[in-house]
Symmetry: C2
Subunit: 337 residues, 2 copies
């Protein structure tokens, strides 16, 4: 086997079988994947004892660069889909992964990506049970893109979602905002800011596990691409309600604040890869906050605002002035995830 | 909205929301997708009445060109994953789709791809219930790549798979081989062969529906990338058995035979996108063949060989001579699916 991805690694033949066996099956080691059929086969009995709804989600990852402080595209691909499943209240169970590899990709890099995926799966308690590998010629894709899809089970008593949101509800963010976006921006634009800033890329299901028993969680999203702002707008639009956040309550690292001030960018638009935006029933907000604070991943959680009935998304500034928060018309930072 | 994909279509903001609403949600119209949550939520009761195993599969599609006689990348993405689920004996139910779009892709082309996906889903009786869209700058991906993942339910009484195969079993192919590969080759290499040859890209679950009631089906794969040859090798390797096929029994269109002879290529290596390779219990083979012949998609089905115990994959030629069939070491035709 050469040290680089070749077109033969994608042809359905011997080189591809070897790649799958030596790299993927070895790293993602589990009996379902090892069956080697075209589809994973999962006994439903393992799922149905947990509840009554299946959660199913997909995400493609095209981040540039593929390695960054705090993670790589592989860790991101597992965290992203596990979190998308978990925010529906589900217990994540099984993942698929689909790789699109550029001819010439060093196998050492692929190995490192796969290693990070396997380790993140173990932490998340999920298994990669089916997969696919395509190789395209040099120049037809930028290094490696990964799709991960996943399934989980939503316990019977959970019904979180935008449809639960009402005026008067509170808005919580589970930690500092913008870490992932600022890290990638700093890296890619060569801002030259020396910091120990790193992506917040993390599996958030442990936080969800803490919240599931509390009555009063109404809806949760992870504030990834588009940041907190995008989630606020999605909720406002879906429910025809308003969202108001208070600038001084936004938890933020100094480095992120610095980068935003330097470039005149809005931190609420910055992507996060390990932060929840939680809409809560007002009287349960404190209990939810206390639960979040009990976990390392939620120690900086804060109440940042409330749901209003005036259909606007707004920021209240430090001196009490308010401004409307629009969705950006252009792409401020492509390939953030 | 412009006529082309712009980076803003991938930023999680207004343009992306409009693209999703006006293109994807509109075309794939179903209540689960319309919920607009980060994950589809599927009542397990709709699944469990069918049986006891979940089938879960994923595939990324990178075919070049994206439009071809007989289909396009969208139709292929639905057929491919539906078939990968169905060949396990499952009833395909739900799909996800993840798009990676190149900046500058004409929206008219995206619309046509989505239209084909929606139509193919309707025929297959499946729903696209969750999705994701990424846009990358011009040059970072070749036009459009699609991942589709899917779930289905395997009825309790079905246990098809490589583990069932024994020496003495028969090998059936459900129709003419190599149509998809020959079509793409003819198109891409400008062979200039004027034919009405077209890809066999099709949803194969109607054929699976016919086979499920018959005892004696042992294992099924769809012979896509790598062709019939790749499947024969996978089965031989997994079970430590041999596979022998008879050249004169291979159903093949004259055009495909012509292209192979012209270029000195092996049709057993050519990709199919609408053909099953079925391993059957010898005494049930005729019954299975008759069932296949009753359907348009299986009218050219033929018994092409048998499972042996000598661990070789072999072709018996028209004059009785035999030759070993190796897996190709290089990629004969990249980006075939």
């Amino acid at each position: 086997m050469t040290d680089f991805i070749t077109m033969a690694h994608g042809n359905g033949g011997a080189a591809m079988q070897q790649l799958i066996r030596d790299y993927f099956v070895e790293a993602f080691d589990n009996p379902t994947l090892a069956q080697g059929e075209d589809q994973a086969r999962i006994p439903l009995a393992e799922l149905i004892k947990c509840g009554e709804k299946l959660a199913f989600s997909t995400d493609s990852f095209v981040i540039d660069p593929i390695f960054f402080p705090g993670g790589n595209i592989g860790k991101l691909a597992v965290c992203g889909t596990v979190n998308d499943i978990a925010v529906g209240g589900a217990i994540p169970k099984y993942l698929s992964c689909g790789f699109i590899l550029e001819e010439g990709l060093p196998l050492s890099e692929l190995k490192e990506i796969i290693r990070a995926m396997a380790e993140t799966c173990r932490r998340a308690g999920v298994q990669i049970v089916t997969g696919d590998t395509k190789v395209v010629q040099k120049g037809a894709v930028d290094k490696v893109f990964i799709n991960s899809s996943g399934i989980g089970v939503i316990p019977a008593e959970i019904d979180w979602g935008a449809h639960q949101i009402e005026a008067g509800d509170k808005i919580i963010v589970s930690g500092t905002i913008g870490d992932h976006g600022a890290t990638i921006l700093n890296l890619r634009e060569n801002l030259g800011i020396k910091t120990d800033l790193h992506s917040d890329c993390a599996v958030l299901s442990p936080l969800i596990d803490l919240l599931r028993p509390i009555q009063g969680v109404k809806a949760i999203r992870d504030a990834t691409r588009g940041g907190v702002n995008a989630v606020l707008h999605e909720y406002a639009q879906t429910q025809n309600l308003g969202m108001q956040v208070h600038e001084e309550d936004l938890p933020m690292r100094n480095e992120v604040r610095g980068i935003c001030e330097l470039l005149g960018l809005e931190p609420l638009n910055f992507a996060n890869e390990g932060k929840l935006l939680i809409i809560t029933k007002a009287e349960k907000t404190q209990e939810i906050l206390t639960a979040l604070h009990s976990h390392e991943l939620g120690k900086n959680a804060a109440i940042i605002g409330e749901v209003t009935d005036d259909k606007k998304v707004r920021v209240v500034g430090i001196f009490g002035q308010t401004r409307l928060l629009d969705l950006p018309a252009n792409e401020p930072l492509p390939r953030i995830c």
